[in-house]
């Protein structure tokens, strides 16, 4: 290779990095920046208006706003405290003890995590629907009258905590598994009891991971829309995201400046939390992973294990069995709450109403496309940040990370400002394309998390070995790097697609009635009182997702089997 071609090659890759930076800034930063613009305008997006601070000041001096802010803090804090405690207990139970039924926890958590928050909340709203929901019925049977109302603070917190527990448990499972058993054994040998060891060694050593999970839970709790919308609003409880939604959808004329102000407030709080996290943690990234996979004997915690089993069962029932059961049961009821005259009529409505069918096709399209594009973006951004020599290489990655601090409803408001302020893009509003674009932006951070780790594990030497074996740069990239990325690409595509398909926060502001997605349709049905149809819609949706997962699992099994037989054949040869 001559010197000239080296220089040309690096200039070309430098241009590529700059292009990626521009794309990242436009997609991920511009919408957030446009919230500032929106805060200072008098008219809704795309309708002119003039500069003014009146919208901002009136919302910042409103008691309602600060009340909802306080409510958000209370909701997030109580959800996080409950869910973290439960998640830590479950993770410990599963990784360190011989508690019967502990094998249930991970599958249940995965399923709860896979069910979109909207549907999860919806089923709980149905369960507690007075006087006909399952729980309500049961409690009436015991107490005569139902003492519990799901549409309340308790309902919001418990339903939020159940969902958050699943996510936090899954995040904590890795650190708990990686924790070197010698840490714990050293404490026992030093004379510490099991209980002291748990609180003085295991919890503090896992401190950074736990704090990370707590902050993430808090951040997600602050941005939660569906729970407060379905369970809080009917009880007159507003949090920041529902207040933002109310300012746009619930008041005439819509107060876009106020909604933008609140959105920025939310983003700032979240950024402050992330700042606190990095400040507190500092360099205390405890490396507890040892290369040696030590044999660790699970502990027999004696009679306490039955308490563990009880908690596992309660978690399974409340997190999974009840919500799913209510949905399935509800979908066959001719009128929700009437426990006779079961019918499949709701399903035929789902399949035959043009609006419903259209919602399913739209959802599948946006899920497949946005999952793919988000993963592609994530791969490019991760590759650039890990491998490029450019000084700008970290910028796209940082842009994506910023989005973790931007809750869904805030993001969709920012996107409205961003795209409606540009004359050419204005025509996108109300089409499925703007929903698609927004979902790509919204799911890229998830895709980046899904592919980031596995790309990091692909050592440069693997490609370098291909180069020294005589492969061209293109060939080495295509034959080695691309080939090795494929499995995690597919997983990330699936994951982002599922997340995108269940998202309500983005379509709720961006979609119109002619291009609804399934979650929006189900929400509308629920809002109009057609609970049984909403349940049937959900059952079809979850059926499609489940079928997809089964196909994916089968494909993995078949591929794995083929690879194993190939290996066996090679070994035999």
């Amino acid at each position: 290779m001559t010197r000239g071609s080296v220089a040309r090659g690096s200039r070309r890759s430098g241009l590529g990095v700059i292009a990626l930076c521009v794309v990242a800034l436009v997609l991920f930063v511009w919408p957030v920046a446009m919230l500032v613009f929106g805060m200072l305008r008098t008219a809704p997006p795309g309708q002119g208006g003039r500069w003014s601070t009146s919208g901002m000041t009136s919302s910042l001096t409103s008691w309602d706003v600060w009340h909802s802010f306080l409510n958000s803090l209370i909701l997030s804090a109580s959800t996080v405290i409950l869910s973290t405690a439960l998640a830590i207990y479950l993770a410990w139970l599963v990784t360190r003890t011989r508690t019967p039924l502990r094998q249930l926890v991970t599958p249940v958590a995965v399923l709860v995590f896979a069910v979109p928050p909207l549907f999860y909340t919806l089923s709980w709203a149905m369960l507690g629907e007075q006087p006909v929901g399952l729980i309500d019925k049961a409690l009436q049977g015991i107490f005569g009258a139902a003492p519990v109302n799901v549409q309340s603070w308790y309902g919001m917190i418990i339903v939020g905590a159940l969902g958050a527990t699943a996510a936090e448990y899954l995040l904590l499972l890795g650190p708990f598994r990686a924790l070197s058993p010698a840490m714990e054994e050293a404490s026992l040998v030093c004379g510490g009891s099991r209980l002291r060891t748990f609180f003085q060694i295991e919890i503090p050593v896992l401190g950074p991971s736990i704090l990370g999970v707590v902050i993430l839970g808090f951040v997600l709790g602050m941005g939660l829309l569906t729970g407060p919308l379905l369970l809080g609003e009917p009880a007159g409880i507003y949090v920041l995201p529902t207040e933002i939604y109310r300012l746009i959808d619930g008041v005439t004329p819509a107060d876009y400046a106020g909604a933008s102000t609140l959105s920025l407030l939310l983003v700032l709080v979240v950024l402050a939390l992330v700042g606190i996290q990095s400040k507190v943690l500092g360099r205390r990234q405890f490396v507890t992973v040892t290369g040696k996979s030590a044999h660790r004997e699970p502990i027999d915690i004696g009679p306490w294990k039955w308490l563990g089993t009880l908690i596992v069962v309660i978690f399974t029932v409340f997190a999974l069995v009840l919500p799913l059961g209510q949905f399935v049961l509800g979908s066959f009821e001719s009128y929700f709450g009437v426990y006779s005259h079961f019918t499949t009529g709701n399903y035929s409505t789902v399949f035959h109403q043009p609006g419903t069918r259209q919602a399913f096709t739209t959802t599948i399209m946006v899920a497949v496309v946005s999952g793919f594009v988000a993963t592609l973006l994530a791969v490019l951004i991760t590759l650039v940040s890990q491998r490029s020599q450019s000084r700008l290489r970290r910028l796209p990655d940082i842009c994506v990370w910023l989005l973790w601090a931007v809750p869904g409803i805030t993001l969709s408001l920012g996107l409205i400002w961003a795209y409606l302020s540009v004359p050419g893009l204005k025509s996108l509003y109300g089409t499925q394309w703007i929903v698609l674009l927004a979902l790509i932006v919204g799911t890229t951070p998830i895709a980046a998390r899904a592919v980031g780790g596995s790309i990091g594990q692909i050592g440069r030497e693997l490609e370098e070995a291909a180069r020294t074996s005589g492969a061209s740069a293109l060939r080495a990239t295509a034959g080695i790097l691309v080939r090795l990325i494929v499995p995690s690409f597919v997983v990330s595509w699936l994951l982002s697609g599922i997340v995108a398909s269940g998202n309500l926060d983005i379509p709720i502001l961006l979609a119109s009635s002619s291009n609804q997605t399934v979650p929006l349709l189900a929400y509308d049905l629920y809002d109009n009182g057609s609970l049984s149809q909403a349940a049937a819609t959900f059952c079809v949706f979850i059926g499609i997702v489940a079928a997809l997962l089964v196909v994916a699992a089968a494909a993995r099994l078949v591929l794995g089997f083929r690879r194993r037989t190939q290996r066996a054949a090679l070994a035999a040869a």
Binding site: M183, A186, L188, C190, G191, G192, G207, V287, K292
Partner: protein
Amino acid sequence: MARVEIQGLTKSYGQHEVLRNMSIEVGEGEFLTLLGPSGCGKTTTLRCVAGLERADGGEISIGATVVASAASRIFVPPNKRDIGMVFQSYALWPHMTVAGNIAYPLRMRRMRSGDIRRQVAGILETVGMSAYAQRHVTELSGGQQQRVALARAMVAKPGLLLFDEPLSNLDAKLRRDMRREIRSAHDAAGGSSIYVTHDQEEAITLSDRVVVLRGGVVQQIGTPKEIYEHPATSFVADFVGYDNILTGTVAEASDRGCAVIFGDGAGQVWAANGRSKPVTAGESVFIAVRGEHLAVEPLAAAGDPPAGSVTGLINGRIYTGQHVEYVIDAGTQRILVRMTEQEHATAQSGLGVGDKVAVRFKPDQSVVIKDDIASS
């Protein structure tokens, strides 16, 4: 100070038997090493003594207390056994300082904080880490972490110290230094120690007695000198570095030794050094001998070997820096002879590849071994 008695210990993981009826005694103040390759059961034995694992059968007592007995369903948890342990990965707690790590066993024993401070300062002095008391353990080098781990194990003056391959993560030079420190720590503490390693040099330099294990069975127990000079089985001989483990047939035996004929009539040697069971004429035995205890002399093409030696052809020569090694084919067996640079310089004449030579055995350094252990 504590005697340790291990009686008939058995342990399996599923179908895999890790310990088979293991019985070992550790005397008061003794430094005992469990030596063996990976999977021999040495770490499992140590972990059973620590109480980190439960044996399926057998009994362990520390001092006067039975700490584990499968038959009488006794199991004392590790935190009640008054022991100190150094882990292979050091297992220092990353959320505590050096002083915090070392103070932990004292805190568990509910000592007053003033006393704790004094004792921690004292032990830090002993291991030469006083300057690092307030550092976080993640900021330390491997050797420093090792010292902190040692200090933590010793600080509460337990009657028994346990070491699980503590030096395997260090480089060679540091390993030699730490070896000395561990032994002097043991001597200063006055308690008993059980040390696990797969490094024969470590076992031999550190211990009062060595137990060689294989497949969950004790192969030999003895002082380092006994193990080194009189290996009881061919496995022990191989493991403690005997270069040549040759097979032959006993021609005649007396109580001073025996004559062994090599296969293919390569020669007959006299071996006087054997501690295994008495042998009789006609039996197959091993002869173990270290390469440096053999001598090579050139032999005329048609000549017979002198008494006490075998004939062979030089197959190759390897220069290793301090030594020169000859590989010699004697019949179907291969013999390695190691000589120093000096010896080589004086004996060099006529030692080329393909030459016929006589390999002379010294009776008192040739070990006769008759394997009678089931797993060998």
